[in-house]
């Protein structure tokens, strides 16, 4: 039993109602409305749609809007901290999109201008500015991203992998989200009216909220509130609409309560997701009515009628607002609500309400049926029943199935090429992607989502004994580039009048993982990590933190598509590479026991920071040079082309410091340059370990028996990662 509590010891926020905690609580007291017609960019709409736009804020650096907002919130959260956070985990969906759109619109071809495009660049930027040297994770699960980031942070703190973590979410308004939600007819032309009978949709918004979370046995003096628990689930129902009965939302709320060790009657306030769309509010209301079927429903409200929907930031904004409700004894008004909806059978709080609030449940739900629920409590609240005990160690997994896609095709075809000493760098043939799928069932999916679904189906093809995967962990550097490109192209060609709603849904980074969940009815956690070149390692890391003993099988997938326009602009390694490449890998896993064969474990992830101490830290994390030489018969080393010199130096240091005597395979030379190339490496590593040898001709290596040893997959460059694969 771990008595560790996760305390919020710093908070920062910027939203359409104000900048900073002080302004925000004042705005909440006065029920200030932040929804106004869009001004950020010109539109052809006679009357621009109402949005939650942040008026003016000072940013000293020339970074895109999301980055600037994230930094403002981070600086406030860290204002009184006496050192850097051990890790940074941020939920983002738009990244540098607001700037990228402008650049693409005017045909900017200089890749340097896109250096802040990626969602990963937001967390990395914040981490650098906050001096964080540890893991940096980017979560991209649409509108639940911020809450999922906080859940992962909690898990990491509970198992002692960090003492304090800066976590939250950020997103800025951009054309993609403004026109995208409009094309889905999910925007209320009169501004969001959550839970109102006449509601017609959301108001797309922007903002950032960051929380400094500190693990401690007793509340630290600076504790603002305690993050008591969190629950994740996936509807596995529809790409863009919630389950009509709110089944997934209910499961996430139940998970969160169980995680916190409390019951519905302990809840004093429900901080609603409450977007104001017809379907969200019905699903959420049904879930709440089911959860509180045997006790009175506490006061509830959505702030999205005044804040707008800040997408990836929303869950973190909800966490900050929950803490403020507890500290200041106030329940925010559900702005926009006037007429009760008999179908919902719930009346939210109409005006700011003074109340004694000790425990808050805060909901967030996103595309892909991605649900995340947080429980925030008073830091000195007397505990009722004890929460369940938490894993002391992150989970290691046993591999029960695997698949990859390379230019050679499937895993079998890739192995065949390898045996014949032929490379498999290049573009995956579309026919190989489609092979395990029915074309009709994927007619709406473009290249990236097809690759991911294809990998998932192939990895699980022998799943009869173990059952289908219950949860899905996805890593991708860039997500659905085809959809992003086609959406923006159609928008610009039509002078910003027409778009494709299908492309908008597909452009969301977690769309592919959502399709996998629907395919397998995987209703457990569904997490998409988008941390650039270590996105796959981030997904595996998240899986190891969130899995529990005895859990059902799960999928960990890494994939990226090559897009001829966008990939060379966004990914510096792709631009450097001679041959365009893409592909991915999938591992079908179950929690390992001491006797499980073929175990995989993500043992290291940190910023290299130019510090000379990082390689010794890596060696220590792997158990020292003796263990490395004894346990691992080969190293698969990933060095992204754009960081070749730096990464090669790090690898050389590692090899000389350990005196490593076995083969080292520089795998990007044969797999190709794409962000999730490490997923292919991990799948090949698993295959080598299962076969007990490195077959001949892999990147010009001679055949080498592993003699009972495992394989180590290392990533070098700006971030150093290690994944152990043991027989």
């Amino acid at each position: 039993m771990s008595g560790t509590g996760i305390f919020i010891t710093g908070m920062g926020i910027i939203s359409p109602v104000g900048q900073g905690i002080g302004d925000t609580i004042e705005a909440v007291r006065k029920a200030v409305g932040g929804i106004k017609p869009l001004r950020l960019f010109p539109t052809l709409h006679a009357q621009p749609l109402p949005v939650g736009e942040i008026g003016s804020f000072s940013s000293v650096e020339t970074v895109p809007r999301t980055h600037a907002l994230a930094l403002i919130a981070a600086e406030e959260a860290m204002k009184h901290a006496d050192g850097a956070p051990d890790a940074v985990i941020i939920g983002v969906t738009t990244g540098g999109m607001s700037l990228t759109e402008e650049l693409l619109k005017y045909g900017e071809g200089d890749a340097k201008r896109y250096e802040y495009h990626s969602t990963a660049s937001v967390a990395e930027y914040v981490a650098r500015r906050m001096g964080c040297l540890g893991p940096v994770l980017t979560v991209s699960t649409a509108c639940s991203s911020g809450s999922v980031a906080l859940k992962i942070a909690m898990a990491m703190l509970r198992c002692g992998r960090a003492k304090r973590i800066l976590a939250g979410g950020a997103d800025a308004l951009c054309r993609l989200t403004y026109y995208g939600f409009h094309s889905l007819q999910l925007v209320d032309p009169e501004g969001a009216r959550p839970f109102d009978r006449n509601r017609r949709g959301m108001s797309v918004g922007e903002g950032a909220a960051m929380l400094l979370l500190t693990a401690a046995e007793t509340p630290p003096g600076n504790a603002i509130a305690e993050l008591l628990g969190a629950g994740l689930s996936c509807d596995a129902y529809h790409p863009a609409s919630p389950h009509s009965e709110g089944a997934g939302a209910l499961r996430a709320m139940e998970e969160a309560l169980a995680d916190a060790g409390i019951t519905p009657s302990d809840i004093d306030y429900i901080h609603l997701h409450g977007t104001g769309t017809i379907d969200n509010d019905i699903a959420e209301a049904k879930a709440i009515c089911a959860l509180f079927k045997s006790c009175p429903i506490p006061p509830l409200s959505s702030i999205k009628g005044s804040f707008g929907h800040s997408l990836a930031a929303a869950g973190a904004v909800g966490a900050v607002m929950s803490a403020l409700s507890i500290v200041h004894g106030i329940i925010p008004a559900n702005t926009g609500f006037h007429n009760p909806d008999p179908d919902l059978n719930l009346i939210p709080v109409g005006a700011p309400l003074a109340a004694d609030v000790n425990v808050v449940i805060a909901n967030s739900f996103g595309f892909g049926g991605n649900n995340a629920v947080l429980i925030v409590g008073h830091p000195k609240r007397r505990r009722g029943i004890e929460p369940p005990s938490y894993a002391i160690q992150p989970m290691s997994f046993s591999v029960i199935g695997s698949a990859c896609l390379t230019a050679a095709g499937s895993l079998e075809q890739t192995m065949d090429r390898m045996r014949h000493a032929e490379g498999f760098r290049g573009i995956v043939p579309p026919s190989d992607i489609l092979r395990p799928l029915s074309e009709k069932s994927v007619r709406r999916l473009k290249r990236f989502s097809r690759m991911v679904l294809s990998l998932a189906v192939s990895a699980c093809k022998n799943s009869a004994a173990a059952g289908p995967p219950a949860s899905v962990f996805m890593g991708t550097g860039w997500g659905g580039l085809s959809e992003t490109h086609d959406f923006l192209t159609k928008l610009f060609v039509s002078n910003e009048q027409f778009t494709s709603p299908t492309d908008f849904i597909g452009s969301v980074h977690n769309a592919a993982a959502g399709h996998v969940a629907i395919h397998f009815q995987s209703t457990g956690p569904n997490v998409t990590a988008t941390g650039g070149d270590c996105a796959f390692e981030q997904a595996l890391f998240a899986a190891s933190l969130l899995a529990h003993d005895g859990d059902n099988p799960l999928l960990v997938i890494g994939a990226d598509e090559y897009h001829e326009t966008l990939s060379p602009l966004f990914d510096a390694s792709v631009a450097t590479a001679g041959t365009p490449s893409d592909g991915g890998g999938a591992l079908y896993l179950k929690p390992a026991t001491a006797t499980s064969p073929c175990r995989i474990y993500p043992s290291f992830m940190a910023y290299s920071g130019g510090s000379g101490r990082i390689i010794p830290a890596l060696i220590r994390a792997l158990g020292g040079d003796k263990r490395i030489k004894e346990q691992f018969g080969a190293i698969l080393a990933g060095i992204p082309a754009a960081q070749r010199e730096k990464g090669k130096g790090q690898l050389d240091d590692f090899l000389s410091m350990t005196g490593y005597p076995h083969p080292v395979i520089d795998y990007r030379q044969c797999v190709g340059e794409f962000a999730s190339a490490s997923a292919v490496a991990a799948v090949l590593g698993v295959l080598f370990v299962q076969a007990g040898e490195i077959p001949g001709n892999v990147c010009h290596q001679k055949a080498t028996p592993l003699l009972g040893r495992g394989v180590l997959v290392l990533g070098f460059g700006n971030y150093i990662t290690a994944v152990e694969i043991l027989p």
Binding site: S183, Q185, E439, K440, R444, S494, F498, S500, T502, I505
Partner: protein
Amino acid sequence: MNELVRELKVKIVETLNLIDVLPKDIDEEAQLIGGDIGLDSIDVLELVMMLEKDYGVKIDSKEIGVKVFASVRALAEYVHHHRSERND
């Protein structure tokens, strides 16, 4: 009207990337959404965008949508009516 029905069938197949469905396979009297060719709410939104772009016809509420997308014939009639209104 028959010409418009034919034209819409082609546009439906092209816009929605329907596999194994030829324009002539679509029964213009049959239920369009949730029917044999397997269209759903996302397809409806895609068609809404196409109708606005190609015919200047706006469909911005679920209630109208249900009526308009009942069948290809209903769709053609709605487009015909509202397009001519606009052109007059």
